[in-house]
């Protein structure tokens, strides 16, 4: 009895205490004593409580969307698209919107670190005064033995390093990102070169197209420039009063783009080339023309059968494609990231030639931009050189090759053979952990620079990057570090610092006919920062394209499988991009659009197949390919071929901070080191097997709150 009463009394006291603290905190005075640190010298354009906006460029992927960052009292609050920017016109995707979670991430590298190669116990903070002589000493190495591995952003650093390596005769810097590899950029460019005779990235005018065939191009989520293609997609659907655009997607695993398509044609991975040729022949027949040389020998019915679809369907689609005035065929990463990827890309581009849409609204144009990645084949050469101890110094910026490259390539082992590895990473990622020095660059929102290679820009654009907040930590711009060190090493470049370099690079733009100009660089510079870059007002695409001579192609078709034992493996990038997005908690928490899954890696398998194999939702399976294996939970995904499984890329980090580490699995372990003719990763014709492990690990899905699929 007395026990009970004591407890009741205790509850009373606790309740009263809670009430008091509510009174105290709720009514204000407690928040008085949150220490306020006013500016000692407030910038005159700044006012407490009012917004200050800065125009800059998103560096979360290579697309280069213009952003406007709203800041308050020196803090970056929200990021929105720059309405004037010709690429994204005020729109932005989830990755750009969460960029502050990178800036304010508690797991950043706080200052220069010296570490005894991966031995985190022995890592020690160093100072810039000690670090820069190390860099400058490294830059004095024999020119042939210096290697730079850069990411797809920012472009100004690439330009600077290129200029420096050229000045001393060192190999040009390589640029790599897993995302670019999944997108098949090099293949696309080379295919355009072979088809149209110009090595430029094609621009697909989706907005004005009426019938669009997408071959594995997930342009609504990750491919090339998802924001501008999403805008174009919206216009294709609803901007014309007369006709609603019709989208057909050919791919084995329904991506977001295929999910939004009017028709999803689940062809086998590896059959894209056959399907494209069959379509070419059927389209020619429908238009009453002679079939192109490459397609003359193809049997459409046999091709359809090889692809696992109905021949009649193919005929219907070919008629549709042939009948429309604005037809467009897009070769995407899924289709061209294969052994025969280059020929496949050519075959798909050839469909555009057939319907004469080159350089016309709703058709294919060529951009004036370079593409920002070197092919994977060149990265392989670098690994080879590293293995042969021909690389003395390796500088890494903006890329995380230990995580991103196929494991079978052995980058990690090769890295161990390089005497000096210097990483400029902002985050302690897998590669930075295996470097001798981590000399952190500013985060993108603290940096100057520009992006100029915008894959989906329809005109010349230089998109400016400027700091929106003062650097939070003891970081230093990599361009500044390299300029200082190069000067000390006796191979200086004619620039005092990063800003000077950027200014000198944009001097030619003053008279290049953009939408503003200025009498001299300082005025031009302030407008450049104010507008978020420089561009011309008119669309300026290369319309002068014609088909070069075509070459006959033959495709081996999809691999044959042992039924229910072997599966085609589709590895696809998600909102986490090349994996660098995994430490943004809101990108992790954002449901994957198609599966509504969060915070993990999953294996997608058709429910029909899963039933046959006795696999249930959330069962952990072991996926094995000739190159490696991983374990992950199953998600029964209704929109995938029964003979295909799919795994998202981006998770499975062993470093990169609290939100990324130890979460999911990295499918880089499953990928081959093979490249196609253009040097892009041939990742989409891998055959895998799966086995139950007997374990179960539930996946955090958002759909269950709605019970979309009924019982489970």
């Amino acid at each position: 009895m007395s026990d009970k009463i004591t407890r009741r009394n205790f509850l009373k006291i606790a309740g009263a205490g809670a009430a008091i603290s509510a009174v105290l905190t709720g009514c204000g005075p407690m928040s008085r004593y949150i220490v306020r640190r006013p500016y000692t010298e407030m910038p005159e354009y700044n006012q407490t409580g009012l917004n200050t906006y800065y125009a800059s460029t998103c560096r979360e992927c290579a697309a280069g969307c213009g952003i406007i960052v709203r800041t308050k009292e020196g803090r970056a609050i929200t990021i929105e698209g720059n309405p004037q920017h010709p690429l994204n016109r005020g729109r932005l995707c989830a990755r750009g919107i969460t960029a502050q979670q990178g800036l304010y991430n508690p797991d950043r590298v706080f200052g220069p670190i010296f570490q005894a190669r991966g031995d985190t116990g022995r890592q020690a903070r160093t100072t810039w005064d000690e670090a820069i002589p190390v860099v400058s000493e490294a830059l004095k190495s024999p020119a042939g033995q210096i290697a730079f591995l850069l990411g797809t952003a920012p472009d100004h650093l690439f330009d600077l390093v290129t200029e420096w390596t050229r000045s001393i005769g060192a190999p040009a810097p390589l640029r790599y990102s897993a995302l670019a590899s999944f997108e098949g950029r090099s293949t696309l460019q080379e295919a355009a070169n072979r088809t149209f005779g110009k090595p430029a990235l094609p621009y697909f005018d989706l907005a004005n197209a009426e019938v669009v065939f997408s071959f594995g191009a997930n342009f609504l989520e990750t491919w090339l420039s998802p924001v501008s293609y999403s805008a174009a997609y919206g216009d294709m659907r609803q901007a014309r009063p007369t006709r609603r655009g019709y989208l057909v997607a050919f791919e084995a695993r329904q991506s977001l783009t295929a999910g939004n398509a009017d028709e999803w044609i689940p062809i086998k991975p590896g059959s894209e080339g056959l399907v494209a040729l069959a379509l070419a022949r059927l389209v020619a027949e429908a238009r009453g023309e002679a079939a192109p040389a490459a397609a003359r020998s193809i049997d459409p019915a046999a091709a359809a059968e090889a692809a696992g679809i109905e021949p009649a369907k193919l005929t219907d689609l070919a008629r549709l494609f042939a009948a429309s005035e604005h037809s467009l065929a897009i070769p995407g990463g899924g289709a061209i990231g294969q052994h025969e990827g280059l020929a496949i890309a050519q075959a798909i581009l050839q469909l555009n030639v057939q319907v004469n849409n080159l350089g016309l609204p709703g058709g294919v144009y060529l951009t004036n931009t370079e593409q920002p990645t070197t092919s994977l084949a060149e990265v392989y050469n670098l690994v080879q050189k590293m293995n042969n101890s021909q690389v003395k110094v390796l500088f890494i910026h903006g890329a995380n090759p230990v995580f991103e490259l196929p494991k079978v390539l052995g980058f990690e082992e090769a890295l161990a053979k390089v005497p000096l590895v210097i990483s400029f990473a902002t985050f302690p990622d897998e590669t930075a952990m295996l470097s001798d020095y981590v000399l952190p660059d500013h985060s993108p929102l603290e940096s100057f620079g520009y992006q100029r290679m915008l894959a989906a820009a329809d005109r010349p654009v230089y998109s400016s990057i400027q700091p929106v907040v003062a650097p939070l930590y003891d970081t230093r711009a990599t361009a500044d570090v390299l300029l200082t060190a190069a000067a000390a090493a006796g191979s200086p470049l004619p620039y005092t610092d990063e800003v000077d370099f950027v200014q000198q690079m944009i001097v030619p733009l003053i008279s290049a006919g953009g939408f503003y100009t200025a009498p001299e660089i300082q005025t031009f510079w302030s407008r450049w920062l104010q507008y978020g870059g420089w561009w011309v007002t008119e669309q300026a695409l290369d319309t002068d394209i014609s088909a070069a001579s075509e070459r006959p192609a033959a495709f081996s078709g999809p691999a044959t499988l042992e039924e229910d034992k072997q599966f085609y493996l589709v590895v696809f990038p998600t909102q986490l991009g090349d994996g660098a997005g995994a430490n943004r908690p809101w990108l992790q928490e954002m449901p994957d659009p198609m599966t509504t899954l969060t915070w993990n890696t999953w294996v997608e398998i058709n429910p029909e197949t899963a039933d046959k194999l006795g696999i249930h939702d959330d069962d952990v399976v072991r996926v094995t390919t000739p190159y490696g294996a991983l374990e992950a939970s199953v998600y029964r995904y209704p929109a995938i071929r029964p003979d295909t499984i799919a795994i998202p890329f981006g998770q499975g980090h062993t470093a990169l901070g609290r939100w990324a580490e130890g979460r999911g699995a990295n499918p880089a372990a499953l990928l081959p080191a093979a490249v196609n003719e253009a040097g892009d990763l041939a990742y989409n014709d891998v055959v895998a097997s799966i086995a139950l492990t007997g374990k179960r690990r539930p996946l955090a899905r958002v759909e269950s709150r709605e019970g979309v699929y009924g019982e489970h």
Binding site: N9, P29, S31
Partner: protein, 178 residues
């Protein structure tokens, strides 16, 4: 045989009850007291003297006409005058110390709203409201003192009296709470 006292008559229980009541009452009184006193400031700024010599409120609290926050002056503002108008006083020595160290003065805001109230100075000042309507007569204060009874009813009373024709808008929850 001694009859066992009921539990509420046990001496220990009574003492405990008294103690608990005291703690609760003390907590409440203390809490209310805290909301009604001036917090300790890094520099005991004499408002009365500054207002007395004719300094406008907006000279230091520049944000009042522009945005939500009236703002607190930084060392540049103080030193702008006091570099010339220098009189020896312990408070000014403190100011000189902040200036020397180039350090912000950690003023403690007095008239502060809870986080779920979004008060905007500019709207009120630009509508012609005097500062003293809410902050009291600063000519009679050294450091700023919190004003009594500034609760939501007080806000609404003023909204009702000063602009009855806009009552729908001025009584809308979303005007201040979001």
């Amino acid at each position: 045989m001694k009859l066992k006292k009921p539990w509420w008559n046990q001496p220990g229980m009574q003492i405990a009850t008294v103690l608990v009541t005291l703690i609760i009452v003390g907590g409440i009184v203390g809490g209310i007291f805290l909301t009604q006193t001036s917090p300790e400031q890094p520099i005991a700024f004499p408002h009365n003297r500054h207002v007395g010599i004719g300094a406008s409120c907006l000279y230091c609290h520049t944000g009042a006409t522009l945005g939500p926050s009236a703002g607190l002056p930084g060392i540049e503002k103080c030193w702008g005058c006091h570099q010339q108008v220098q009189k020896q006083s312990p408070e000014l020595t403190k100011l000189a110390g902040y200036v020397e160290r180039n350090e912000a003065i950690p003023w403690v805001p007095v008239a502060i709203q809870p986080d779920f109230v979004h008060f905007k100075h500019s709207l009120h000042v630009n509508a012609g409201l005097q500062c003293s309507a809410c902050h009291g007569d600063l000519t009679k204060m050294t450091v700023a003192e919190p004003q009594k009874g500034q609760n939501m009813g007080w806000c609404l009373q003023c909204h009702k009296n000063s602009a009855p024709e806009q009552w729908t808008k001025l009584s809308d929850c979303a005007t201040c709470h979001y």
